[in-house]
Symmetry: C7
Subunit: 80 residues, 7 copies
């Protein structure tokens, strides 16, 4: 079911081009298409939307997120 996950960053690599949910430390989420990431977990989302409690608050378009503000990143299609 989940193959080839040897290191944590493999999950992010597999999620490139797909929609992800990024949970931020400020209790907001950013949802968008994962375009790029680096070892600091800085990430770039396309068509990003800022969500609060599951409600869309702002459409941000292309967005650079600084890694140290991130709690978790989850491919959106995996959420039940």
């Amino acid at each position: 079911m989940v193959n080839g996950i040897e290191r944590p960053l493999d999950v992010l690599n597999n999620a490139k081009g797909k929609e992800v949910i990024v949970q931020l430390k400020n209790n907001k989420q950013m949802v968008g298409t994962l375009l790029a990431f680096d070892i600091h977990i800085n990430v770039v989302l396309d068509n990003a939307k800022e969500m609060v409690d599951g409600e869309s608050k702002r459409s941000m378009g292309l967005t650079f997120l600084r890694g140290d503000t991130i709690i978790f990143i989850s491919p959106a299609s995996m959420a039940a």
Copy 2:
């Protein structure tokens, strides 16, 4: 009973493929199957569920957790 724990990361290595509880700094827990971790304690959980006070809040599926948001990780089967 607990053999072969020389270094802290040995516990995480032994827990691969098993269910773990991850306590986050934001007072939430993530429960899921530990797939991978690295020296920053970034971890990947499969079938992750976000819990608050022991109640399941969100099913996240496959999830990358950034290490600096983690307080502790415990194999779920060990909890009494």
Copy 3:
């Protein structure tokens, strides 16, 4: 649509000379023209304006922003 984004910093490089929104950890935003950035995500904005909840609060002109206070940076023209 979004080509040539291999690494997160590519987004910032593409945004040089353009208007960006910088979300800060203190719940304020800075809007201005991106002049420069470095690997710490220290950035320089020209004609920077401090915003709170979308309202302009202060015109700061040329401003150096320290990277560790930044949550995200988004090219302003991408926002819907």
Copy 4:
């Protein structure tokens, strides 16, 4: 009375296999048998119990604690 403590980590080394109290930054304590630690003060406790104000709240069993959430570690038998 306390011999052979040249460096701070000597205390943790001497406490291996013994019960310790770990005070966390979130005002909780973890009590358990110290199995392992590293230079980041990541520690592993066996038979860990989460305590709040001296009351046991949760039995966690084997637990990996991330170093940066720890205020102090004290061998339990030393407390008066």
Copy 5:
């Protein structure tokens, strides 16, 4: 208008000997003449004044500011 800004620190270099506003994480500002800075964004201001909500609270004279407490630095003459 703003020439020769290749890297973020160029702005600070250009501002040497001029009045700057330094926004701190504790919601206060320091206004003074920028004398020196380093790569940690530690800065030295001369004739520094501590401001809260635009009101002068304390005259500090020569002051060393630790970089990790700084949100932004802006040449005062640029503010509208």
Copy 6:
């Protein structure tokens, strides 16, 4: 009066074997005999007592304190 203090750690070296007050970021103090320290300002106290507002709250005995939770360390005999 205070001779031979060339570097900050010299003060801690001189205080070895003596009673010190350690002020923690959580508004508590630890008072005890300084046994060891390292460059991270991790310290070991013997006969440590946790104090709140000058009142003894807990006797901890031998205690390892993680450096990043410490505000200041002062030899107790120096306090007026």
Copy 7:
């Protein structure tokens, strides 16, 4: 008036043996004679007094202050 300040640490070097005000992140100040500092801005004050809102609260004598708790350091004689 202020000569020879090339780098931020020059200010601290010039202030050795003189009274300084150290503003801490916990809203307190420490006033004392600067004896030593290092590149982490760990500092040692002699005859240190803890101040809150300009009122002396505690005489600490010789005190080691950890750099990461410091907002600013100002030679006391410079304050107006």
